[in-house]
């Protein structure tokens, strides 16, 4: 162990491999040998195409993979100094209660439809005070709703999820995740289901909440623009591997890996008028596949 607290990452993933069942007998190596670390107060991003394993990586750190015994994890996930691979349910529960929060993509389905919003936030603050509601906890939950961008939280806390708009629901999810004061927040495609104008406001909310509470952030998205505007460091994933990582500006301005280069070129080709439409050539994909096998 190092003596300097600054050099000890809050969460460190080493050589992580995840195998997920996809059918009765088939399974897929969703993540292979991923290394990743996030320091206290740092904001990092994971970008990649669908199926690149970025979500699975995020869920692994929060211990939120499917509970099926056929899900296999290897490698090491150290959260706040504790090795979590092979840890029992109680240890994971401790991590989720106090250290790692998660925000998901579809704000409607990730809220319980039959429970009032306020109660869902309170549950995150004090899971044990479900039956005897504590006014202190209630007060706290209102504060977190306010922090998540609701100017009149009392009104919102009395509503059910179906009574809120998509952007409001996403803010409630942010409030839920932040309410237990986690040290690390993992946001998995938090704005993909939202309209562009709403996305902007939600991202702003996320940014202010995270910095006001001094929480570390792992932002997972297929949208490089979203990740770039929010993070300091980026991991690029492809086919279950991290192909490149580095500071956001370095990744954007001087990518090293041919895949990152191609990915950025295709993204730029979509928005910049003077670049011809460019998609990652099949030859490159095949070449990377061959390297995988080797």
């Amino acid at each position: 162990m190092s003596a300097e607290p600054e050099t000890t990452p809050l969460a460190k993933v080493t050589d992580l491999a995840v195998n997920l069942p996809t059918g009765r007998k088939q399974s897929v190596d969703a993540v292979r040998h991923v290394n990743l670390e996030v320091f206290a107060g740092e904001k990092i991003g994971i970008i990649g195409e669908s199926g690149s394993g970025k979500s699975v990586t995020g869920r692994s750190i929060a211990g939120l993979l499917p509970t099926s015994p056929r899900v296999k994890l290897e490698g090491s996930i150290i959260v706040d100094g504790e090795e979590m691979i092979g840890a029992d349910a109680a240890a994971w529960q401790q991590v989720r209660t106090h250290k790692v929060g998660m925000i998901f993509q579809d704000p409607l389905t990730y809220l319980n439809p039959v429970i009032r919003v306020g109660r869902q936030v309170e549950e995150s603050i004090a899971p044990s005070k479900w039956k005897n509601r504590d006014p202190v906890v209630q007060e706290k939950s209102l504060n977190f709703l306010r922090l998540a961008g609701f100017p009149s939280p009392t009104e919102v806390s009395r509503k059910y999820p179906h009574e809120l708009s998509g952007g409001m629901r996403q803010r409630v999810l942010i409030a839920i995740a932040i309410a237990k004061r986690p040290r690390l927040l993992i946001a998995d495609e938090p704005t993909t289901a939202l309209d562009t104008t709403v996305q902007k406001r939600v991202l702003e909310t996320l940014a202010t909440t995270v910095s006001e509470t001094q929480t570390s952030l792992i932002l997972i998205s297929h949208d490089i623009g979203v990740v770039a505007s929010m993070t300091e460091r980026i991991y690029v994933m492809y086919r279950g591997r991290v192909v490149e990582s580095g500071s956001t500006s370095q990744i954007l301005s001087a990518p090293n890996h041919p895949y990152t280069q191609a990915l950025l070129r295709s993204v730029r080709s979509l928005s910049e008028p003077d670049v011809d439409l460019y998609s990652i050539p099949l030859e490159l994909r095949r070449k990377l596949e061959m390297e995988d096998v080797a």
């Binding site: 320091f39 309209d195 562009t196 297929h222 979203v226 770039a228 993204v267 910049e272 439409l277």
Partner: protein
């Protein structure tokens, strides 16, 4: 001028007592022609998909008229209607649900060719199917004939949909969020196919999307929809350079882009950037 919407409106009545009227589209005007790339942009609930469905004559317009070459779609004879269905093709949203999961690629494309009698013998139909698949860059085409939708990737499915539209040699393709669900690289590939077809076959597009950068990239003419109304329209360059309507400006402003960051000061790992 080929396909034209004149003052079309669509009002849905929400069911039950009172029957609250919802104005999905309010007197919209739009024209689409061969070789032209027309885009309709707007956020969810702006009415853009409803407008597309009216152009396709899937929803009848509550008010106003859709014309194809000056003929009112509503008053078309059977022959004219068949011609309309062939001339104006659709590539719709939802890459997973747009192909019947129980029909192979050759069945899905072949049945359309047969319906419009674009080819008659088995061999001709097969040949036409292959040509269409090649046109959209699925190569070798024969490789894809017997595949079912679940055996294709999202980008491939979208190409099959475009191939099916192209097989009938249409003049206008109405594409509703046809590339929105795809990854950037795949999206670029599909768009390139579409642009290529525009050039080679002189196809015209009505392209419905919420994705502004894409519109900026490929569209010739843009309509911006907001709450059922076309609030602004004009050549793409004008709209993007000097948006007149407040909403267009908001929309442009909200779009995340890499340009802003390229020049930004690099931030060291571990340091806080707030």
């Amino acid at each position: 001028m080929i396909l034209e919407a004149k003052n079309v409106s669509k009002t849905f009545r929400s069911g039950g007592r009172g029957g609250l009227a919802v104005h999905a589209v309010k007197s919209a005007n739009l024209t689409a022609a061969r070789g032209e790339f027309v885009a309709i942009v707007g956020e969810s609930g702006s009415g853009k998909s409803t407008l597309a469905r009216m152009l396709l004559d899937l929803h009848p317009a509550s008010e106003g008229t859709i014309f194809l070459r000056g003929v009112d779609v509503k008053s078309m004879s059977k022959n004219q209607r068949r011609d309309f269905r062939r001339t104006v093709q659709a590539v719709l949203q939802d890459p997973a649900g747009s192909l019947n999961p129980r029909k192979s690629v050759s069945q899905s494309i072949g049945e359309v060719i047969r319906l419009h009698k674009a080819a008659n013998t088995k061999r001709d139909i097969r040949q036409k199917t292959l040509t269409a698949l090649e046109l959209v860059g699925l190569d070798p085409a024969s490789h894809y004939l017997d595949r079912f939708p679940h055996e294709l990737s999202g980008g491939q499915r979208q190409r099959v949909l475009i191939a099916r539209a192209v097989a009938l040699n249409p003049q206008i393709i109405i594409a509703d969020e046809a590339v929105s669900a795809l990854d950037a690289s795949v999206k670029a590939g599909v768009l390139r196919v579409m642009a290529d077809l525009q050039e080679r076959l002189n196809v015209g597009y009505v392209f419905i999307t919420h994705d502004l950068p894409v519109v900026k990239k490929v569209a010739d003419y843009v309509h911006v929809m907001y709450r059922g109304e076309i609030v602004e329209h004009g050549p793409a360059q004008e709209i993007f350079q000097s948006p007149q309507h407040e909403y267009t400006a908001t929309l442009l402003d909200a779009t995340p882009s890499l340009d802003a960051l390229d020049g930004a000061a690099p931030t060291a790992p571990g340091a806080s950037a707030t």
